[in-house]
């Protein structure tokens, strides 16, 4: 009896202890797995559409892969070829020029525009919407409209001829073509960065402006000493975003300069070169990947440069 009475005891207590111990384990397990399960769809998308192409591009840059032919490892041959490819240097020159011209314009002009449309006057909503319209317009439509306007027989040349200035070859001169494309990029980006600045300006305390005005500061002084320092971090953000976008420019130049990249290819940008080299049935995927790797490295360097400049300012 003793033994039989004593025997079941552990049997009843053991599962109780086990279930007590299992409950926190289950919770712990759920705490570990649940976030991953929630993140899984997003991670899968990132893995398939970003991580895999990224890693694959880096691997391909060391091969002679072509569109229909599996490549073999060629070491740094693609990068060495880049050094002797005139078109690569033209692309690097044009993409760098794009950053140097477009970024300062897109840091300063939208801020001035935001200051203008920030004022609460009747009808200002119309202007805010009007300035934002190019952002939502399709780049292809925008590009074609500008091509029509800048054509030798287009609106701009008709006006220039009417005032006796003569025709200007906006679409036939390599530099005018590149600067025209830059103007389109700036015109199209103004509204987007204006909205970012409007949000930043809304956070600048009115008291600062009032105090500066009481101290006798004029509008320019107030802009330089109050507004600019208050939106400096936003300016850094705009500089970072616009420099990456400018270095990777494709559509504007492609639409205005055509698939050859302007006269004699002199307006080719690096991304256009990737498209031209790597696509089509005879596309050189390995070589185009090497150019893409260079673009990635330069883009990261640009970001680091902007962030470093910001940190220096903070100190």
């Amino acid at each position: 009896m003793k033994s039989t009475a004593a025997a079941p005891a552990p049997a009843t207590t053991r599962p109780a202890r086990a279930s007590k111990a299992a409950a926190p384990r289950r919770i712990r397990r759920q705490l570990v797995t649940s976030p991953w399960l929630f993140a899984a769809p997003g991670l899968a998308v990132v893995g398939v559409f970003i991580l895999y192409p990224f890693v694959s591009t880096i691997i391909n840059s060391f091969t002679d892969k072509r569109q229909l032919v599996e490549g073999k490892y060629v070491g740094l041959a693609n990068f060495r070829e880049l050094l002797h490819d005139d078109m690569f240097w033209i692309g690097l020159r044009n993409s760098t020029l794009y950053v140097l011209v477009v970024v300062p314009a897109l840091v300063v002009l939208p801020l001035l525009l935001a200051l203008l449309v920030q004022k609460q006057i009747p009808g200002i909503t119309f202007f805010r919407s009007a300035f934002y319209t190019p952002v939502v317009a399709s780049i292809v439509v925008v590009g074609l409209i500008w091509v029509w306007m800048l054509d030798e027989r287009g609106l701009v040349n008709a006006v220039l001829e009417a005032v006796g200035a003569g025709k200007v070859g906006f679409l036939s001169d390599q530099w005018l073509l590149l600067f025209s494309a830059m103007a389109v990029t700036v015109w199209k980006g103004l509204g987007y960065y204006m909205i970012i600045y409007l949000a930043a300006l809304a956070n600048v305390p009115r008291e600062l402006h009032e105090a500066a005005a009481v101290d006798g500061a004029g509008p320019v002084r107030r802009f330089l000493s109050v507004t600019v320092p208050a939106v400096r971090s936003t300016m850094v953000l705009v500089a970072a975003l616009s420099s990456v976008a400018a270095f990777k420019v494709f559509s504007e130049v492609y639409l205005m300069a055509g698939p050859t990249g302007g006269p004699a290819g002199e307006d080719t940008t690096l991304v256009m070169l990737v498209q031209r080299t790597g696509t089509g049935l005879t596309g050189r995927v390995g070589y185009a990947s090497a150019i893409s790797v260079v673009i990635f490295v330069v883009t990261v360097a640009l970001m680091l440069l902007v962030l470093r400049a910001d940190r220096k300012e903070d100190k």
Binding site: R29, D151, E152, G169, S172, A264, L281, R284
Partner: protein
């Protein structure tokens, strides 16, 4: 042990699921090597047929054609897909690399060459050689690739066209509008005269010379083995030098260096340039969009030093990876046979590549209209016409040549230097292809 195994298994499941999620879409890239080159079996099963931007205008024609085929072969089924004109080569390239290329594909000779080299286009000499006699010899040969044995697509429709010119602009420049240029020398002289008289306001041509212009001028484009380009020879340099003179005299449009076929067409339509190559299709466009131009339109044959006009060829290839080779070959032949090509030619201004079709009264009998005049002249010239663009001349090579021509016209390089560089670049691309 058991506990640890149980606790690890969901983690493994998550990892396995994630890996599967990542790998599944990628696994499609592997493609299926399958497929036989034997076309002699029963015509059965479902095949996919891909056309190049034809659905918008010819939906009913292709639906009727597919119905006819399915009636003739009740065990076969055809699924028709149409791809937009823009980026067609990229679409084919992605499908070929991913193993998802349709069974029967509408191609041009320059598209079929890399596919044949990659073993994706079926050799019709082996699988469907019995049909060769149905087509014009030149058309059948147009899908042969130097360095490879065989023919890799059925010839489909051909196209060519005259040179249109603006009689009003000719008259304004004091030229005889009824005597358009017939030779290159006359063309260059008239162009310079037009530019001089209009003080540089009216150019004669809106495009720089392309590879087919070099071919028509009598420049040898490739060596016989198909291993290197030769368009930098004396004749090539001579043509480019002439174009440089035209460019300097403003007889070539100022935007010619960045022109596309669409933009040159628009320049001619707006009477900004005096001459432009075209086809019977353009006459309709002139009538509708530019009535003033249509009133003054002049039509003259292509200028050629070789006596042979340029023609464009379309083809229909069979994918070697098809699982339904007999059905795919039978359908590709069905689409391109004399009866179907003739009926397609009556719907749109194209020309059949089948023997005897060009002798049909539709291509020989005048009815007094401009359209018929152009059609009859084009059909006549097609009997001896040549597709001057080498099948191995890729898009990248076209850009190399174009940029070299632009450098010569701008005076940055001499015509000889520019063409030497272009040949060097094209030869390098040829070796890498």
């Amino acid at each position: 042990m058991r506990h640890s195994r149980i606790s690890r298994s969901p983690r493994r499941a998550v990892v396995a699921a994630a890996l599967a999620a990542v790998m599944l879409p990628l696994s499609a890239c592997g493609g299926d090597e399958g497929g036989s080159s034997d076309a002699s079996g029963k015509v059965e099963g479902e095949i996919t047929f891909q056309t190049w931007n034809l659905k918008a205008n010819f939906k009913s024609y292709f639906e009727g054609l597919i119905d006819d085929f399915e009636q003739k072969y009740p065990d076969a089924k055809v699924k028709w897909v149409d791809q937009p004109g823009e980026g067609y080569a990229d679409k084919i390239s992605a499908d070929a690399a991913g193993g998802t290329l349709p069974d029967v594909v509408n191609v041009s000779p320059d598209l079929v060459a890399p596919l044949a080299k990659a073993g994706i286009a079926l050799d019709l000499d082996k699988s469907a050689g019995k049909y060769e006699k149905e087509y014009l010899p030149g058309a059948w040969k147009s899908h042969q690739v130097p360095g490879l044995e065989g023919t890799y697509a059925f010839p489909w429709y051909l196209n060519t066209g005259p040179l249109f010119y603006n009689k009003r602009l000719f008259k304004d420049a004091g030229l005889d509008a009824n005597k358009p240029p017939k030779t290159y020398d006359e063309l260059f002289d008239d162009a310079e005269e037009l530019a001089k008289k209009s003080k540089g306001k009216v150019a004669t041509l809106a495009n720089v010379p392309t590879i087919e212009d070099f071919g028509r001028y009598g420049v040898p484009l490739m060596n016989k083995e198909g291993t290197g380009f030769t368009f930098n020879d004396t004749k090539g340099v001579e043509l480019l030098t002439k174009y440089k003179e035209l460019y300097d005299a403003k007889a070539l449009d100022g935007q010619a260096l960045t022109a596309t076929p669409e933009s040159t067409g628009k320049k001619f339509l707006t009477e900004a340039v005096a001459m432009n190559p075209g086809s019977a299709l353009d006459l309709e466009k002139f009538k509708k969009d530019a009535p003033r131009l249509y009133k003054n339109i002049g039509i003259t044959p292509q200028i050629s030093s070789t006596g042979k006009d340029n023609m464009y060829v379309m083809g229909v290839m069979v994918n070697t990876r098809t699982k339904r080779t007999p059905a795919a070959v039978a359908f590709a032949h069905f689409v391109t046979d004399a009866q179907r090509q003739m009926s397609f030619a009556k719907k749109v201004a194209i020309f059949p590549s089948t023997k005897g079709s060009l002798d049909d009264p539709y291509f020989t009998k005048q009815d007094g209209s401009d359209e018929t005049r152009v059609r009859i002249a084009a059909a006549k010239s097609l009997k001896t016409a040549v597709n001057y663009t080498p099948v191995l001349f890729s898009e990248q090579m076209k850009i190399e040549l174009r940029n070299a021509v632009a450098r010569a016209l701008q005076g940055k390089q001499s015509p000889k230097e520019a063409l030497d560089n272009a040949v060097k670049a094209c030869d390098r691309l040829l070796k890498q292809s």
